[in-house]
Symmetry: C2
Subunit: 347 residues, 2 copies
Amino acid sequence: MSRSIDLAVIPGDGIGQEVVSEGLKVLSAVLPQDVKLETKEYDFGARRYHATGETLTDADLDALKQHDAILLGAIGDPSVPSGVLERGFLLKLRFAFDHHVNLRPSKLLPGVATPLAGQPEIDFVVVREGTEGPYTGNGGTIRKGTEHEVATEVSVNTAFGVERVVRDAFARAQARPRKKLTLVHKNNVLTFAGHLWTNIFNKVAQEFPEVSTDYIHVDAATIYLVTDPARFDVIVTDNLFGDIITDLAAAVSGGIGVAASGNINPSREFPSMFEPVHGSAPDIAGQGKADPTATVLSVALLLRHLGYDGEADRIDAAVTADLTERAALGARSTSQIGDALAARVAG
Amino acid sequence: MSRSIDLAVIPGDGIGQEVVSEGLKVLSAVLPQDVKLETKEYDFGARRYHATGETLTDADLDALKQHDAILLGAIGDPSVPSGVLERGFLLKLRFAFDHHVNLRPSKLLPGVATPLAGQPEIDFVVVREGTEGPYTGNGGTIRKGTEHEVATEVSVNTAFGVERVVRDAFARAQARPRKKLTLVHKNNVLTFAGHLWTNIFNKVAQEFPEVSTDYIHVDAATIYLVTDPARFDVIVTDNLFGDIITDLAAAVSGGIGVAASGNINPSREFPSMFEPVHGSAPDIAGQGKADPTATVLSVALLLRHLGYDGEADRIDAAVTADLTERAALGARSTSQIGDALAARVAG
Ligand SMILES: CC(C)[C@H](C(=O)O)[C@@H](O)C(=O)O
Ligand SMILES: CC(C)[C@H](C(=O)O)[C@@H](O)C(=O)O
């Protein structure tokens, strides 16, 4: 295991700045003295876009590529047209660094508020494909702005791309106590992509005889996420379905304030990127109201990815303790929560 | 208003048969003596597919076309490969009869069980586009079954198709007390289709100055559906997003046992089709366990479409009364619920 971490830090827009500071605070607190932590901050997002018209250049990618991992706060601002920063920065980076495993764990901790009645058991991980599906940007528009406009979006799915993420998900399911993997798709309507996903899922399943499997259509999956979330252990799904169900998963398991994610390149050819699922929330930016927990949990995913399992465990335990006691703790600012978590992991 | 109704009835598979019987029972009970009700039953679904290999022929379409409307129970059985009946029957019919307005109301009635804590107010309608988007069947597969397979799905969106459904949704919002319309899409990622939808939505909005509007990404919409469903009045959305969010909407507002839908051709060039959102549920078929309420509410949508507003109101009121008293009524069979609703609408 390398005893140094060279981290690219992208605070980004809105609350990104605030939550990333707390994430770094907890990271510094949890690392042993002998691990050298180097961080380099990059200014991406709305400010840079307005100043230079750039979102992410080849030179930026070359610079980011040098780091061990990337910690991102949030990118997006209402002053920038919808899609510009998403396609020009967030998705460009996921595609450039081949972040094909988009990992999004959901765990409802005791005492944490959920919109669901009866505090159900929720403890699952979604493995969302990150480089294919309807996210490729394939498609186009003809006769734009006329009454004869036609706009298409092409979902691209390859055996190569599906198999590697399905295999990753099986391995994760195999390593968990329940050993259960659910494929979520819509193979009764999207039959071309659906058959590819289903066939590969069934094929790879034979290599993992201990993992029990099932299949659920994406529409039905949203029902189960609110009526019986305990049925899920690991879910593997397409890029767009994963986007949708992980927001719902976050909502039912404590809200997007605590939902972490990793954009992972398991081959380590490029650095992986870790970010809270929430966005830049410009309405509360700069007020110390943002919950840094999702970023702190993303730091734990980052540490686990780099092989610092013990440190990741300590962060998870600190968050669990903090969330469980939250009701009694009253309102706290972004940095107060960060301080509390840093104290817990150090102590 | 025509004083006769000529109805095509498609019980279909699984519980379809049982729930359609109860739907027809309530329909007969609610209609005044002078309205002549004619029904013709059609055998579609798994049984016919296994016997003949057919799902829906041109001759079938010609026959169905003669009716004023279609009442469908459910189509689908595990004995038929996924996609065959969905694409070969359900979607073929929606496309052939140009059912571009897929109407799905959600209303949580007092006393009805919901997975959400605190019994929130839920009363909205989703207007789902029914003939475009990723449902067109465009796309394909190359190198099938090899490690170099590529499968595509093409979402097709036209100004013509989007504008007519958006206009329909604005008119529905205009007619409701709150007069609010929300566009749900993913225009930050699916930028070609997203811009088409957003531009047309903003253009048509100018014709409806009384309707207040907003826009929400589909992933965020799933969050609001569980944390703040009261914010929605009318939603207009794409075919696939509509499929996903209406299952979630059904789940939070009483379950798919009470979720009705209409596949509507507002021009009346072809008959519209009304069906419960639930499927054929083969596991409980033939046991009198299915809840016929969703079918009965679909009959109300059918009556409203044909201009029988008073009768539709009476069915809605009967269902409201029945659901509100349900906790006290104990377990009832499919036909007992149907009898109770028939008695209420007749009385
Ligand atoms: C901002 C957007 C591009 C992104 C996505 O759709 O993947 C976000 O919703 C997410 O889930 O990370
Ligand atoms: C069965 C399937 C084709 C259908 C759809 O996806 O539209 C169903 O889920 C629905 O919502 O009516």
